[in-house]
Subunit: 190 residues, 2 copies
């Protein structure tokens, strides 16, 4: 039996994306965004939504570029801080002690201490209610050597990304292996 | 030191969304989608991307409605199967033994055995390369009583949603508590 919760923004799991931008004066800023995900395979694109009141919105409009940084759970406090403070009155990088680095390909800062960075250029925007969705082409993905597996692919356990629970307003870690994709369901193929 | 992986559709975590639709004859179908996420708070909307060649694409265009079902890891094989077979030549529900149910509010089937269902109407589409992104307003969210916590909120551990790893092509479970949102970062606020 299912209970109706009404029209709420519930989904499992939400990611925890940290959007890096420069402002018009070239100052680095970053904000946390949980409303987002991959939206196209070719060209590879990621979409994320930002309210017009956010400093990041102005920066994205100015520069047309961003990074999408994946924090490790070791930096849960810093990642959360990027969603609390505003770049309008706070140098968030300085306040939480993380390091903004210039990125290849795009005019946007990446976060040195975070294990995965997508370097993106904005190719479209879509107005959806109170949010503007930015559609960003992924020009490159940078992954820390320390989180690479022995097979040369990023290892999710070493990355230890955060999951956001929007109803409980808390973060969770990822867990163990659950099955092989495009394989676990073959038993039902006739 | 970071290594460049080039332009790949990497993000942590991807969700595992099962999109339920009826075809023109009212037959229930469902497909797996990992390219998606919440895209607006008000109205509450979810976005997911589908290729035009998919049977679900035709159904979405016909009906303008869908469900977004969150599978539990106990049904990883069935969830994977929804991404392998096509509704054009397979009754996927019958093949994997799951139960399509009519949904409140929308002309789309929900999956009885899955713990969370979003009932949605399509309000916009965006062409992005090889994918079409559907923007769907969430009219209601249904949650199985068995996965509700004692505080009356859905419990992610009981839901046990799947995470998709696109580079390793495997599924993972969610893990334990990692921090309080809008709180863990307050230490950096001056």
């Amino acid at each position: 039996m299912k209970t109706s919760l009404g029209p709420v923004t519930l989904l499992y799991p939400h990611p925890m994306l940290i959007i890096g931008t420069y402002d018009a004066e070239g100052r680095p800023d970053a904000m946390a965004a949980a409303w987002g995900g991959i939206c196209s395979s070719d060209p590879p694109c990621v979409a994320f939504s930002v309210q017009k009141s956010r400093y990041t919105y102005t920066n994205l409009r100015e520069t047309g570029a961003c990074t999408v940084n994946i924090p490790s759970s070791a930096h849960v406090a810093e990642a959360d801080f990027f969603g609390i403070a505003s770049g309008r009155d706070t140098d968030k990088f300085k306040a939480c002690g993380l390091t903004p680095l210039p990125s290849p390909h795009v005019h946007a800062p990446s976060i040195e201490e975070f294990p995965v960075v997508l370097c993106c250029r904005i190719i479209n925007t879509v107005e959806i209610g109170v949010h503007v969705q930015f559609i960003a082409e992924i020009l490159d993905v940078l992954v820390d050597d320390a989180v690479m597996g022995e097979d040369g692919k990023p290892d999710m356990e070493k990355i230890s990304p955060l999951i956001y629970d929007s109803l409980r307003r808390e973060y969770r870690n990822v867990g163990g292996y659950a099955g092989k994709a495009f394989s676990a369901g073959l038993a039902f193929k006739s």
